[in-house]
């Protein structure tokens, strides 16, 4: 590993060709699909993005009011509402709910927030079986891996790797046909559903107005988890609230198109409490756990805009850095541009540990352009870079900039350096034993030095007042 590169550079360099290809082909397709769908369906998709951004910004800036409203509505609908300020408290709350019902077998639908609090490991240690039911998450679970994309957890794997895992875990002889793999998973997980006594989900949105929890899946797994047993627990980040039911229409239209180029995700559930009296299947009890876990600190920061995020993954798909690294390069639950902002912030006191992530960006702005809630991600990345700088956090890959800053702010020094540096053209720089310089040169070619020539040229053509006339 070279000292002059960022950790994410090293990760990308060591990534196998196979993984890089898997990630790249998938995100390129998704980026194109998203754009085509939005442009086919709306004359001005930007209008919706900007509107959704404002609605969500308004919500987070009034989060105390909307949380209370949502809590009251959920309670009225017959759900039991809990709050957890830390990951630990959320895990304990969930365990207690399960224990009270004597539940030991839980089926889970895909939820990033349960990844965030490392729920599965904890519950398994407490004797609760947790089965991931989203196909991708199920594969992640049997592999002991972690998701590398918000929407497509196994983006870094190909079908051969999946087939090998299935064979290893007794799910049939090697067969890498995706249809066969899917049907084997259907059969295996069907049994798990029918034996389960609790279903765990996240939530995509919560309407403060009605208390409706909205959960979307394409596979139907969240629906099955809420049809086969009597207990539903939803773990929800406090930022998932939206003001009105009407706004659900706005966000659903953007979420499906941004995430998977769909007008609507296949199963869109509006859950208004436990099952109705006439319904024989589904939860008799519904619990909603609102999780802070660092979000209120993000809310207090100037980077609070990131709390608008609706987890569509579009910024990951379009990001040139994500495309070279996959999500694992970000060393945290949330990867890609959104993760580069969110992970250091959610880390709280561990901010220095992730302070390099905001630098893992060329600030090209593509993430901002595709964001369905118009989050100015590049601006937030810059703020975090500056915060790291102010806090004096030295992270790998950052060359010392102080000498440059001194030089660049003094015209005299600058001019001298520009002219003097011409000597570089005659120095054997590729032979200089300066480790960071050599690492840098390994992947780049230094152009011929032409510093200082602009001023000379300017002077010769008649100084600053010549008005740019050609003479």
């Amino acid at each position: 590993m070279s000292k002059s590169s960022q950790p994410i550079d090293d990760f990308a360099r060591e990534l196998s060709r196979e993984t890089r290809d898997a990630v790249l082909s998938s995100v390129v397709t998704r980026t194109a699909g998203r754009k085509a769908k939005l442009e086919a369906d709306y004359k001005d998709p930007d209008l919706l993005r900007r509107l959704a951004g404002k609605v969500k910004q308004h919500t987070v800036e009034h989060l105390d009011e909307y949380l209370e409203q949502a809590e009251a509505a959920l309670t009225k609908n017959g759900a039991k509402v809990h709050f957890a300020s830390t990951a630990e408290s959320a895990r304990e709350t969930i365990l207690e709910i399960l224990r009270n019902k004597g539940a030991t077998r839980m089926v889970k639908s895909k939820s990033m927030v349960t990844e965030e609090i490392h729920l599965n490991d904890f519950l398994e240690k407490q004797g609760v079986e947790c089965v991931e039911t989203d196909l991708g998450e199920f594969i992640i679970q049997i592999d002991g891996d972690t998701p590398s994309h918000i929407v497509q957890p196994i983006i870094h794997k190909n079908r051969r790797q999946v087939a090998e895992s299935f064979e290893k875990h007794g799910l049939g002889a090697y067969n890498d046909d995706p249809q066969t793999i899917t049907h084997r998973a259907r059969k295996h997980l069907r049994e798990k559903y029918l034996q389960s006594d609790a279903g765990m989900t996240g939530a995509n949105f919560v309407s403060a107005e009605s208390g409706r929890i909205v959960i979307v899946t394409n596979e139907g797994n969240a629906r099955f988890g809420m049809a086969a047993n009597g207990l539903h627990i939803a773990l929800v980040g406090i930022e998932k609230v939206v003001p009105r039911d009407k706004d659900l229409g706005l966000f659903l239209n953007l979420l499906g198109r941004s995430a998977t180029a769909q007008q609507l995700t296949v199963y869109t559930q509006f859950i208004n409490g436990p099952r109705s009296k006439s319904q024989p299947s589904g939860p008799k009890e519904m619990h909603v756990v609102f999780l802070d876990n660092g979000r209120s600190k993000v809310l207090a920061s100037k980077e609070r805009d990131i709390l608008r995020c609706i987890r569509c993954g579009a910024c990951l798909n379009v990001c040139p850095v994500y495309r070279q690294t996959s999500g694992h390069g970000y060393r945290a639950v949330y990867g890609g541009p959104v993760g580069a902002v969110l992970s250091p912030l959610l880390a709280g006191d561990d901010f220095p540990k992730y302070a390099d992530l905001p630098k893992a960006s060329s600030l090209c702005g593509a993430c901002h352009e595709v964001c369905p809630v118009n989050i100015p991600i590049p601006e937030l990345l810059l703020r975090l870079r500056s915060r790291a700088n102010k806090e004096g956090i030295k992270s790998a890959g950052a060359p010392p900039m102080a000498p440059f800053a001194r030089m660049a702010t003094s015209p005299k020094l600058w001019q001298t350096a520009m002219t003097a540096s011409r000597a570089m053209n005659h120095l054997p720089i590729t032979m200089m034993p300066i480790q960071p310089l050599q690492a840098w040169l390994k992947i780049r070619t230094l152009p011929k030095w032409r510093g200082g020539e602009f001023r000379k040229w300017m002077k010769e053509r008649g100084g600053v007042n010549s008005g740019g006339r050609n003479e």
Binding site: A22, K54, E61, L67, I181, L194, L264, S276, Q279, G282
Partner: protein, 206 residues
């Protein structure tokens, strides 16, 4: 629990206490959410629904006979039917030799290859079938079989998504189904029939 609540709420209030200017809640007309293709079309209603439902691999049908042919061709010989649809749907299938159960038994979930239940409406703009807890005789019957047949008689055809949102009603569970259950988790390849139905039918009876 209430202590945890206070901690979270206090932290949120504290975080917002220094905020000088707050973004107002924008007002907007939900018309802008309707997709252009739909807004400019002049068809609407069941025909529009059918087209959009087919575009997401759904099968819109208007005759029990068509349903019968499909079920037989696909080798579905035994399934479940909501007893309230016995007369109009179930008996027609039985007369042609299909085995139809009117009581949903939870230990036989995998024996039913088709499930016929009532829908609460459809959404034309998106090709979506709307189900709710009161109209669905059993959540599993609409989910576990390979073929799900959602039946509408006089239930509403919502033209647009915003209209359907306005009419969510007070059911404890409303679910929009836009095509068969599917995944693209493995190499982005589309596979239908993951946990729910691999075939989603909507049958409209006059």
């Amino acid at each position: 629990m209430s202590e945890a609540r206070d901690t979270v709420m206090r932290a949120v209030r504290q975080a917002l206490s220094d905020l000088q200017e707050k973004t107002p809640l924008p007002e907007y007309d939900s018309e802008i959410l309707i997709c252009a293709k739909y807004r400019e079309g002049e068809v609407g209603g069941w025909l529009e629904f059918g087209e959009n439902f087919a575009a997401v691999s759904g099968r819109p049908l208007t005759e029990v006979g068509e349903l019968l042919v499909f079920l037989k061709e696909e080798g579905n010989d035994s399934g479940y039917c909501d007893p309230s649809l016995k007369e109009r749907v179930g008996t027609v299938l039985e007369e042609s030799g299909l085995k139809v159960h009117y009581e949903y038994e939870h230990d036989k979930v995998d024996d039913y290859t088709f499930g016929i239940t009532r829908a609460s409406g459809v959404i034309a703009e998106s090709g979506t079938v709307v189900l709710n807890d009161e109209d669905t005789v059993d959540r599993l019957a609409a989910l576990a079989p390979w073929v799900h047949v959602a039946v509408i008689e006089n239930e509403p055809i919502f033209e647009t998504i915003p209209e359907a949102i306005e009419n969510l009603g007070d059911s404890s569970n409303v679910i929009w189904v836009t095509g068969p259950s599917k995944t693209a988790d493995i190499e982005g390849i589309l596979i239908e029939g993951v946990h729910g139905p691999g075939v989603q039918i909507c049958l409209k009876l006059d």
